[in-house]
């Protein structure tokens, strides 16, 4: 049997209601995440990138259009998705292994300890299993957060600016690690970021969103860079031109003149 397509968004629209009025966050947005791909989503701030992830995760219901997660409606496909946030959000009172097992515990999955220990071992954190988060560096903590996301074995990873809270140097290394881990574990991922070079170095395809209400403005296929690691991509001759193209597609408006 062929694998179901991880994520299909068709003509999706979403309207927020607050006491100040209603906001159209997303309108006529169509997007497909192919199996095994990391699909980057870049867009101006406040363009509904996070909203999009919440829709796929089944946390928010779209007001229009169709969403399919592994061929299921998002409410049923919830366990197919693993969410990774900007900050690691490790609980300081739990050891690393207990933090990693939190996701399984919440979802009521038993017997994940061996798998979790295996992941920690594989990604160089075995020695820290019984330590507390405060004893780890920012990059290590983010790796722990990724492993916590992987423990319930999701098909799809939803990464919401997962490197935003790291300093630049750590970030470059962690991007490398995370891409390696995602590819290794055979996952598909939606990767939201506002950092263009991070998006180009990490992803297999790139969707540029418009300002609110968000739709896909331009789509970039980066599969020809697939054989390069994020670090190598930064040195690739096509990197600069690609960066300019994405930058132009984003079309940042100057908010105030200096």
């Amino acid at each position: 049997m062929e694998r179901p397509i991880p994520v299909v968004l068709k003509d999706v629209g979403l309207t927020y209601h607050t006491s100040d009025g209603e906001t159209k966050a997303v309108e006529h947005l169509s997007l497909t995440l192919k199996y095994g791909d990391i699909l980057g989503i870049v867009g101006p701030s406040g363009s509904g990138k996070t909203t999009l992830l919440s829709v796929v995760a089944g946390i928010l219901a779209p007001t229009e259009g169709k969403v399919e997660v592994c061929g299921l409606p998002p409410s049923e496909g919830k366990d197919k998705c693993g969410y990774m946030l900007q900050r690691d959000e490790l609980f300081p009172w739990l050891t690393i292994i207990d933090n990693v097992l939190l996701s399984a515990k919440v979802k009521g999955l038993k017997d994940r300890r061996a798998y979790a220990e295996n992941l920690l071992d594989k990604y160089g954190l075995k020695a820290y299993a019984d330590r507390y988060p405060r004893e780890l560096s920012g990059g290590m903590r983010q790796r722990v957060a990724l492993i916590r996301t992987l423990v319930p074995s999701p098909e799809i990873l939803l990464l919401d600016e997962p490197f935003g809270a790291l300093d630049f140097q750590t970030r470059v290394y962690v991007v490398d690690d995370v891409r390696k881990i995602i590819k290794n574990e055979g996952k598909s991922a939606l990767f939201v970021t506002h950092d263009i070079s991070e998006a180009i170095s990490m992803c297999d395809a790139l969707a540029v969103l418009s300002a609110r209400p968000a739709h896909v403005k331009k789509f970039f296929d980066l599969s020809r860079l697939a054989h390069l690691s994020p670090m190598q991509r930064r040195d690739d001759p096509s990197f600069g031109a690609l960066y300019d193209e994405v930058w132009k597609a984003l079309e940042f408006k100057k908010e105030n003149e200096i």
Partner: protein, 276 residues
């Protein structure tokens, strides 16, 4: 001391001197603290001895010591201290447990919280001693009324403190629980409660002081035993030695209870303290 010695190996001479200076300062402060107490007691005793103050009105350390020995000898001291301590501990425990449970309830049910918040604030502002007569009529004049007074004084502030801790639970961590599809119960037991252990401990610390206020107030209103009873009784018969002695016993007990809670706080702080 051995630990200190071991640590000092490998430090420069300047650093060892710095550490020694720190230690000297610490010892000096301790000496001064004890010194203040000694000087006040000595002055008190001296002034009473030479008749500058009337020991019948002010009592004196030696008279207090004699009274203490007498009360201890006929078992009165233990009896009364135990009564008050029991009432205080009961009030303290009930208020902490009930207050925390109410806070959990209000966290759980947002409309309930929004409805009751202003009422809580007004109840908190009300001087609970004003309810004395009502308490006597409702609860009678036994230990029940006294414990009730202690609970009343502590419980509202516990609810407010613990609830505000719950409401300040890290938004990012709550989002994480949302993305994992956690139920409200899971959020409570896995995140909100453990994250708020320090909040609850600091509520304990406040309650130590307040529960003593409650039990002594209660004993002033209704009682036939306890340190508050001894103080009131001593005042009525002009036995200032009894008043002072009871007050000092009270001081010691309250300090001991506070110390116990502070130790407990130290033990949990390390594990549960926020990001560090």
């Amino acid at each position: 001391m051995n630990d200190v010695k071991k640590k000092e190996q490998g430090f420069s001479k300047a650093h060892i001197e710095f550490l020694a200076k720190k230690r000297r300062e610490k010892i000096a402060i301790y000496c001064c603290r004890v010194g203040v107490l000694v000087v006040v007691l000595a002055l008190w005793e001296l002034l009473a001895f030479c008749g500058a103050i009337d020991a019948f009105i002010t009592s004196s350390p030696s008279r207090i010591a004699a009274k203490l020995a007498q009360l201890a000898a006929d078992g009165e001291l233990f009896k009364h201290a135990a009564v008050t301590l029991g009432e205080t501990l009961a009030g303290f425990a009930i208020a902490t447990v009930v207050g925390t449970l109410v806070a959990i309830g209000l966290w759980w049910c947002e409309p309930l919280r929004k409805t009751l918040e202003p009422h809580l604030v007004i109840l908190n502002a009300l001087p609970k001693i004003a309810l004395g007569p009502i308490i006597i009529i409702w609860m009678g004049s036994g230990a029940g009324a006294i414990v009730f007074m202690a609970v009343l004084i502590c419980v509202i502030i516990t609810v407010i403190g613990v609830l505000s801790g719950f409401m300040q639970t890290d938004k990012g961590k709550l989002t994480l629980m949302d993305t994992l599809g956690a139920t409200k119960r899971q959020k409570l037991t896995m995140l909100v409660l453990p994250a708020n252990i320090p909040t609850i401990v600091s509520a304990l610390k406040i309650n130590v002081g307040l529960s003593w206020v409650g039990s002594i107030m209660g004993e002033y209103l209704v009682s036939r035993a306890g340190l508050g009873y001894l103080i009131i009784y001593g005042g009525q018969v002009f036995d200032l030695d009894l008043v002072m002695t009871s007050t000092i016993v009270l001081c010691v007990l309250a300090a001991a209870m506070y110390g116990a809670v502070a130790l407990f706080e130290k033990a949990v702080a390390k594990k549960f303290d926020a990001e560090s």
